[in-house]
């Protein structure tokens, strides 16, 4: 039940635009939810008392909800622009996705539930739930994208089942570890922005310690990628594309420089650059597939065989051109208004 687009047709270019937007949405999602998942994972390691725990929750409290919608949007765009790939990706990764959703659910309610009962045991339950359910999504997303980079064993019908255990192959796990480390770093930088005093000093210390780890893991991951995926093929055909790798490299260097200079906003923005660059690297690597098939690349789900009708892609583009800039504008405003270093006033709840 698939269309096959003719390369060079209007429909093809429209689908290509959506492929780019698809990558952009995932990248923004990782940049935004990445830091609040990181902060959540750091909770048991950084906060020493109730006030610091409260501060860590409130550091991400105003934003996590809006951040998570980028995941809904990325999922929705896959559904709308590449329904065939959506159907495959989500049913193929069934158990992993269900676990991701369940952890995000528990995490989401922990923000609201925790403070509503004055009991240490109650708070302890939600602190633990929050940390575990921040760590697992980071890991699962990394495992999922690692497997997509590597290729999923699709059959001719496109439908296949990659059980959870099948996803936990070495490269998939490497993807998971990389994602967790990136999000931890990103979260630590966010805490430097929003906290003050001792907690900030500790957050900065963690960020400084994490940085070399992220560098080493990035290099190892790239080497592993070269060995066990076809992600570099496009790059070898068009070597000029290697320029893309300058983005994450620049992100890493700037991140450390600004961190040293205690320009936390800039350090966090550099971390965004790193995340965006890494996502772009992956998206260009799998092009023109959304879900590459491995071992048989002929079964890949691509721009050509999974796109929606031309009319749908056009209408969606109109909607995106109006609303995405608007969303970015008001989210920017919300960050500007609320992402200030926290004072006592921010500690209610």
């Amino acid at each position: 039940m698939e269309t096959i687009l003719e390369i060079g047709s209007l429909h093809y270019y429209m689908a290509m635009i959506w492929f780019v937007l698809w990558g952009v949405l995932w990248a923004i999602y990782f940049m935004l939810d990445g830091f609040d998942l990181g902060v959540g994972t750091l909770l048991p390691f950084l906060a020493k008392n109730e006030a610091e725990k409260r501060a860590m929750f409130n550091a991400t409290g105003p934003f996590w909800d809006g951040n998570e919608v980028w995941l809904i949007a990325a999922g929705g765009v896959t559904f709308a622009a590449f329904p065939y790939a959506y159907a495959q990706m989500f049913s193929g990764l069934y158990t992993a996705l269900m676990l991701l959703l369940f952890t995000l659910i528990v995490r989401g309610v922990s923000f609201e539930f925790r403070s509503k009962v004055d009991s240490d045991a109650w708070k302890k339950i939600w602190d633990t739930a929050h940390a575990v359910c921040s760590f697992l999504p980071a890991l699962l997303l990394g495992v999922a994208f690692g497997n997509i980079f590597q290729g999923i064993p699709l059959d001719e019908t496109g439908f296949s089942q990659a059980g959870l255990l099948g996803l936990l192959n070495p490269y998939g796990i490497a993807g998971g570890i990389l994602f967790v480390s990136i999000f931890l770093m990103h979260g630590a930088l966010w805490l430097c922005i929003r906290t003050t005093g001792e907690l900030q000093v500790r957050a900065e210390g963690i960020a400084v310690k994490l940085w070399p780890g992220v560098v080493v893991l990035t290099v190892l991951f790239l080497a592993f990628t070269a060995l066990s995926t076809k992600l570099f093929n496009n790059y070898l055909v068009y070597p000029v594309l290697f320029v893309i790798l300058l983005l994450p490299v620049a992100g890493l260097v700037l991140m450390r420089t600004y961190l040293g200079a205690r320009k936390y906003w800039m350090a966090w923005a550099s971390s965004c650059l790193y995340i965006g660059g890494t996502a772009l690297f992956g998206v260009v690597g799998i092009f023109p597939a959304l879900i590459p098939s491995n071992p048989n690349p002929a079964n890949s789900l691509t721009i050509m065989n999974s796109a929606s009708s031309l009319l749908t892609l056009q209408i969606m583009l109109g909607v995106a051109l109006v609303f995405v800039p608007l969303v970015i504008a008001y989210q920017f405003w919300a960050y500007k208004t609320l992402a200030t270093p926290m004072t006592d006033e921010d500690m209610h709840y």
Partner: protein, 437 residues
């Protein structure tokens, strides 16, 4: 059980759980925005206190509604991948538009609203409340347009082995979708009204924060009365339209088997899946009238639908009865409260009953959705795709495992969430110093 049945159960469980929280979000968000506006206009602190008190309960409710909504979008891919591939061109784009145009707005500004009390001017803060309320309801429009397509598919053509979009305008002006919208939005306001009435009645009986809850009760009872009438009238119009677009659903919800003119409505019916077990006390022509506003109209009976095209009769029939029965009770309950609103202390029994009435609109709304969705069976998209052709080719074990885990998790979170909301509601507004009304 097979994957189909497990997936249906999972979807039913996920939507019904999600729909404990959504209607209150839709209705209460509007009432809170009104309270804040009243505060900005009059400067009366009591309205700010109201917005804060109801807002706190709202936030717990909102969190559960949001997180359980995410599961629904992804379930189309995980459990109904053949459906997603077949109608994704249309259905997927509607969900994507919902996320971009509404959900972002709602989720971004709920954070600003929650954490912005001290950082924004009262006017700007009230604006964020309206943005949340507006976006929640806008979100409902897109979701119902998507559901409207499943109920009454329009604007598509079958091409490349799937339903492709041909007329976007036809899809967004789908009458079925808008009738659903104008039924569910007033129903949500009715629910919010009963919620305010129930909680306020509990406090009024205990004479705690009397002036605060008197005012809250008055808002609740007025909203409940107006919108219970609106919901009922609109429900009738919706039924008329449904009898034209989904005759099998109409026949099932009335358990009407024999095609006839001047079709009666039987006051006493025991329905069965192959004909009624008992039919008695017919009111001649009433069914024809309810369906087509004409006592002599012909109403097609279930016998004239092939067996494989008939919806489950008993469930559809009962959920319709339950919805209508409760829908009749609501204006009576609210009407009494509205008439007696200035001498409520003379009717302690009424006040005692009201908190127990809070679940009733929820049950009515659940019954309404059961009628809508079960009555559409065996089709996932009416007349176009069967539910059995829509399910993902995933392993039974995987679906079974996720269903058990989901049920467990949702039960725990739901119980904790409802317990929290009750606790917050009983606690009352934070500052107990006397307020000027």
């Amino acid at each position: 059980m097979d994957v189909l049945m497990l997936s249906r159960l999972q979807f039913a469980a996920a939507t019904m759980f999600h729909f404990i929280f959504v209607p209150l979000t839709l209705g209460l968000s509007v009432l809170i925005a009104c309270m804040e506006t009243a505060y900005v206009r009059t400067g009366n602190e009591v309205y700010k206190k109201m917005a804060k008190f109801w807002g706190k309960i709202f936030l717990v409710n909102f969190a559960l509604g949001v997180v359980t909504g995410i599961t629904l979008e992804f379930q189309f891919g995980t459990n109904w991948s053949r459906y997603s591939a077949y109608v994704g061109d249309i259905f997927g784009s509607l969900l994507a538009i919902e996320a971009t145009a509404a959900f972002f707005l709602e989720s971004t500004f709920i954070g600003v609203w929650h954490f912005g009390w001290e950082k924004l001017s009262p006017k700007a803060h009230a604006t964020t409340a309206w943005l949340v309320a507006g976006a929640s309801n806008l979100s409902a429009i897109w979701i119902l347009i998507a559901n409207g397509f499943m109920q009454n598919p329009v604007g598509y053509t079958l091409r490349n082995g799937r339903a492709e979009l041909t007329d976007f305008f036809a899809i967004i002006v789908n009458k079925y979708a808008w009738l659903e919208f104008f039924h569910i939005i007033p129903a949500s306001l009715l629910l919010a009204g009963f919620f305010l009435m129930g909680v306020s009645a509990w406090h009024l009986l205990r004479k705690s924060n009397e002036s605060f809850f008197k005012k809250s009760f008055n808002i609740g009872v007025t909203v409940a009365l107006v919108f219970s009438i609106f919901t009922a009238v609109e429900g009738h119009i919706h039924g008329n339209n449904m009898s034209l677009t989904q005759p099998a659903k109409l026949a099932a919800m009335e358990s009407h088997w024999v095609t006839q003119r001047n079709a009666p409505m039987n006051l006493l019916v025991i329905p069965g899946e192959d004909g009624n077990v008992l039919e008695a006390l017919p009111l001649p022509g009433v069914l024809s009238f309810l369906a087509y506003n004409d006592f002599n109209a012909e109403v097609k009976g279930l016998n004239d639908f092939p067996k494989e095209d008939r919806p489950p009769v008993i469930l559809t029939f009962l959920s319709f009865r339950l919805m209508v029965g409760l829908g009749t009770l609501f204006p009576l309950l609210a009407g009494f409260g509205w008439l007696m609103r200035n001498k409520l202390d003379k009717y302690p029994l009424y006040l005692k009953v009201l908190p127990y009435c809070i679940p009733l609109p929820y049950i009515a709304i659940w019954a309404g959705w059961t009628l809508t969705e079960v009555g559409r069976q065996p089709w996932i998209v009416y007349g176009l795709m069967r539910t059995s052709d829509a399910v993902s080719p995933v392993a039974t074990g995987e679906v079974g495992f996720s269903l058990v885990l989901m049920t467990l998790l949702y039960s725990l979170l739901g119980a904790a969430g409802i317990w929290l909301m009750i606790k917050l509601a009983k606690k009352g507004p934070e500052d107990n110093s006397p307020i000027q009304v």
